[in-house]
Every structure is written in C-alpha cells, then in structure tokens.
Homo-oligomer: 197 residues x 4
C-alpha cells in the first residue's frame, strides 16, 4: 500500500487511541498490555508501532486527549456564551462532560482518573496536566471576575481562591461519578445551589 494521506494516518492514530482508551478504562495504563491494544484495535503489532513509538507514546497521547478534552470543552464554553454566574458555568460544563462521557460508554471519565494518577508519577504528564488544568482554572477565574463586574458576585471575593473551589468541583464530580456512581449534573448543581443559597 503506497502513499497514504495524512488524514488517513491521523484517522488510524485516532482508531488506535480509541481502542487503547477502552483498554485503559478497563485495566488502567499499566495493566493494559500492548497485546491488549493490538487485539482491541484489530491491527497487527507492527502496524500499531508504525503509528506510535511505543507504549509510553500511547499513554502520553491518551492522557493528553483525556486531560485536554476537558480544557477544550471549557474553552468552547467560554467563547460561546456569557454565563450569568460561575455556577452556571459549572453546570453547563458538567452537562457537556457528561454527554462526552456517554459517547464513550463512560470510558472518558475512567481514563481521566487514570490520567491523574499518571500525572502524579510521570513528570511529562504532570507538566501537561498542570498546564491544562491551570488553563481551565484561569478560565474559571475570568468567569468570576466577570461576575464581579456584573454584580452577580461580591467584589470582596478573591477570584483566584474562588476559582480553586470551582475547579475542584470538576474532578470531584468525576470521582464521585466514577466511584459512587450516583451523581448527575442535575443533582450536583442543585446541591451546589442549595449550598450557596
């Protein structure tokens, strides 16, 4: 098979990452073997290694996808609308994230938790996570500042500190969803509103 388009190549990489993500959601990064990824992707060993330098490369790419997806989601969110209140931002975000999770049978959230664990021990992934999470948090900080200008939040509040809490609500939700399994954006946001009232 001669000359394959760049698009085809990207599509194949994506296929492999999706297959590998299924494995990671099920078994975690280090209990997923390359044989698992190969089987799940339906390709041969050599083919997979033609698209990725090795297992670490795949782990890196999945962690990036997983952590980056959330950042992308929030960035889009902020572009689109002008939420009245930071809590609304959290709400819309949770709904989007939940929708994204449903598309992947909940795998995305599970992979996310694995990515956090990897970020704790792998310096490169730690740097990546720090950057992406920092970006999300600074977006939330901007939302807070805007709300203060709008008068929907007290101007006495420290935007950075509030953003720390707002940000924490996101991984907190994910963990609760994945481990306890009984949280929904609706219940969660309603609890948040109750708490704030």
């Amino acid at each position: 098979m001669p000359k394959v388009t760049e698009e085809h190549r990207t599509a194949r990489r994506e296929e492999i990452l999706v297959a590998a993500s299924r494995c990671v959601a099920r078994d975690g990064f280090h209990k997923t073997t390359m044989a698992d990824v190969i089987r799940e992707s339906g390709l041969s060993a050599g083919a997979v290694y033609g698209y990725f330098k090795g297992k670490n490369d795949i782990i890196r790419a999945i962690a990036e996808r997983s952590i980056g997806a959330v950042a992308q989601l929030l960035a889009d969110l902020v572009e689109r609308a002008e939420p009245v209140h930071p809590v609304d931002a959290v709400e819309v975000f949770l709904e989007q994230m939940t929708a994204l999770a449903r598309e992947t049978d909940g795998d995305m959230l599970k992979v996310g938790v694995q990515a956090w664990a990897e970020a704790v021990r792998d310096p490169d992934i730690h740097a990546l996570a720090k950057e992406k999470m920092g970006a999300v948090r600074s977006v939330l900080e901007k939302v807070v500042r805007r709300a203060q200008r709008d008068g929907t939040m007290s101007s006495a509040a420290d935007p950075a500190a509030v953003a720390q809490v707002l940000f924490a609500l996101l991984p907190g939700f994910v963990l609760e969803a994945v481990i306890l399994g009984d949280v929904t954006p609706a219940s969660y946001v309603s609890g948040l509103r109750d708490l704030l009232s």
Copy 2:
C-alpha cells in the same frame, strides 16, 4: 509464639506498608516492583512474603490505608465537635488531612490519587472505596441535616445533594494540591466562603 510476636508482626507489616507507600507515591502501584518494596523496606524477599500474600495484598492494604485514613479522619472529627456549619467541617477536615500529608512528605495525597485509579479498575478496591467514600459522604449529609436543624442552613436544601458537593470538595482539593500545588486549606476555604457569601 507469644503476644509480643503478634505486636511485632503488626509493626513489621506497618513498616513494610510505609516503605511500599513511598514507592507507590513515587512510581504508582504498577510501576512499583516487589524488588523496590523489598529494597525500600530493608527486608528480604522471603520476609516480605511472610507478612503479605503477594503484591496484590500489599496494593490492597495500601489502598485501604489511604482511602480509609480519610474516612477515619472525618469520623473522628464528627465525634469530637459539633461544627456550626458544613463549611467548618470541610475546613477542619482539610487541615487535618494536610497535617497528615505533611507527616509523610506529601506521599499520602499522591498515594490517594493512585488509589482512586486503582478503585476504577479493581473490583475489590472499587467496593472498598465505594464503602469508605460513601461513609464519608453520609457523615457530611448528617452534618448538613444537623445544620438545617440548627437553622444555619436552609431546610429547603436537599441534604444528599449538598453532601455530594461537599464531598467533591475533598478529592478536588487533593488533586489540585498534588497537580497544581498552589492550594492550601486556608486559600481553599476562603474561596469557598467567598463563593457562599
């Protein structure tokens, strides 16, 4: 063997777990090898296997310690005092957890994140985590109900939903502390208070 031996046995198990936890904080559960644990504990392979059935047994025990520590902390907390408001409960809790983390050079938090990841893929650890986290959350729910009785919280609030949010603040803090590294109980609680005001 007399009872001294039993105490000795427990102490040795603890030593091994502490050594293994250092490894896990550094490398994660599955990149930590038994050779690492053996080296770090200063014992022989045979000795370690005399105290634990195998690597899984050690992983189980560390995950349990890590997740259980938090539950224990909150249980103690509730026994001792009658916080005026759920946010105070969160505050006291974060301080205690931070103190505990400091004692272990921050390892406890890192191991905690690894334990979450393990809870996602190992049914036994998942069950354990579900139980412990559920217990913590139901304690928070009781705190909410108490606050409602005290009149410090609106009785219109759904205690279960509020507890979901309060609980989420804990792992959210841990993750932010471990990855972003710039949160303290003080900044975090002040942000929370700002948000609620």
Copy 3:
C-alpha cells in the same frame, strides 16, 4: 525487456550492494537491517526485493564481492607480471588492496572481516570463502614454485607450506589495519624483508 534493461538491472544491483556494504562496514551483517539498506540505497522496500531475494541474498552477494575482490586482485596481478620473489607479490598485492580500500573509505576491509565471521557460521559462505581463499593460496604456491625455478628461492622449500605463510600475511595485514590502524603496505613489507634477511 531489451538488453538495456539487463544492464540497468545489474547497475541497480550494484548500487544496492554498495549501499548495503556501507551499512555492513558500520554495523556488521546482522545489525544491519533491511530498513537500513533500503534507506541507504534510497530505494523502496519493494524495489530492493525486486533485485534480491532477501537479506540472505544480499549478505551472500556482499560476502562474495568482498572475498572475491581479493581473489580477483591477485589473479590480475599474476597475469600481468612475473614477480622476482613471492615477497614482491605480497607487496604489490597489499598496495592494490590498500588502494581499493581507500576507494571505499576503508569499508572494504571492514566488510572483509565481517565476511570472515560469516564464513565461520554459514556453510554456503564458508564454501565460497574456502574456494576463493584456496584459489588465492594456490596462486601464491605457483609464485613460490616459479621462484624456485628462477633460483630466487631454495628448492628445498615446501611450496604449499610457504604459501600457507604468504597467504596468512594478507588477512593478518587486514586485521592489523582495521583494528590497530597503524600498518601500511610499506611498513609491513619492510618488516617482512627485515625478517627474511
């Protein structure tokens, strides 16, 4: 396909062998991969396999070229002139071999050593090497006999035994040149003459 194609085919084979020889000089036969040969030759995998049945075929061809070059050299040598003494034959030969080596950046000698190693373990190459080296040695034996007839060597000498020694001087020189790097035909032949005097 017309005859031009046949010449073209031979030229292409030659190109591939030259490229592969560079690889072999650098990495040896078995650390040279087909990917190396393909890259170095600038052709595609399919093209290379159009000219050679496989890697073994290329190894065979290179070993043959390498061992055969020496044989060819000596054959030419004997045709041309009537050396006064076997030592002169050795001298002229070393000079020619050195010149040939220079043309290929010293690769030819390095490939030669690899070919010896291959002749030790591969029966086909062993047979080839035995034949070629045997031919060279028998040429040297003829040179000795001629010298005896000329009176420049004692007729008491055993031509076969003397040829063994004369022949040994050739690979001995190559090895010294490749490993120790400080021998020249001039120094070597002068040493030989000193020894004989």
Copy 4:
C-alpha cells in the same frame, strides 16, 4: 538459596560463558539468541540475567575472554623462556593456541574470528581488541629486540615493523585454520622457516 560464595558466582558466570561461547562458535554473536544461551547453559532466563546484565554484557565478556586468552598465552610464554629466535616464539605460541583450541573443540578460534568482526563495529570491543592486540605485538617487538641483542637477528631490522609481520602471522594462521582447515603449527612454521632460509 541464601548467600552464595563469590567463587560459586564466578564459577556460574564461567559456565554461562562457556555455554554461550559454544553458541557463538556455531551461530555468531548476533544469530545466537538469549534463548540459545539459556538452553545451552541449562539455567533459567532469570538466572542468566542474574549473572549478566544482558546480551551485550555476555558478548563483551566472550569477546574479552577470546581476545584476552591469546594475550595471556603470549605473556605466559615470554615469562617462561628465552626463545632463541622470534620464529620460535611464534611456533611455541601456535602450539599453545592450537592446544587451547582443541580443548574447546575448535570453538575458541571460531569465537575469535567473531570477536574480530565485533571489534570492527563495537567501539568498546574495538578499544579492548586494540589494547590486547597491541600488547601482544609489543611483546613480539621485545622478542625481536632481544634477538637483535643476541645476534640472531640483524640489528638493521626495524623491530616495530618486524613485529607487525610476526603478529599478522597469528590471526593469519587462525583464519586459515578455521576456513581452509588444513594448516597445523608444524606445517605453518616449517613454511615460515623455508621462507626465511
């Protein structure tokens, strides 16, 4: 099995090297697989890796043994006696080397040729070979100087150049023995004497 003596460890390493040398004599360094070495040594994979860091470590050790053995042989030789003439030194040396080869079913010579090939492509082994061969050659140079003092060799000869030739006789003999198979120290030395007379 606790505590094993250093001698036992050395003996095991030696066993593995002997087994691996048999493989290398048969298949060369890079066609010898670790599975071959493991099978031939009768140990398990883990055991072999307990004595050597990896395949490269084994290759290194075998190459060193093989090249060093010759150096050792000559060093012993020079200590013992005062040969009348450099040719006698070569003779005694060849006999010793042949005896050593016989002890290993001819493997030692074959491994030697493989080691030369490795010295051409591996910088570490090249350095090792250069050192050992240089040592042997300088011993031969001393023998020449001694012969000049004794009057058995012309003082006009350049000892370094003569040593180059004397040294070359050794690998030359080995290659002829291994490839052509019809040389003996006796025939070879008789040819040398004929040539010199």
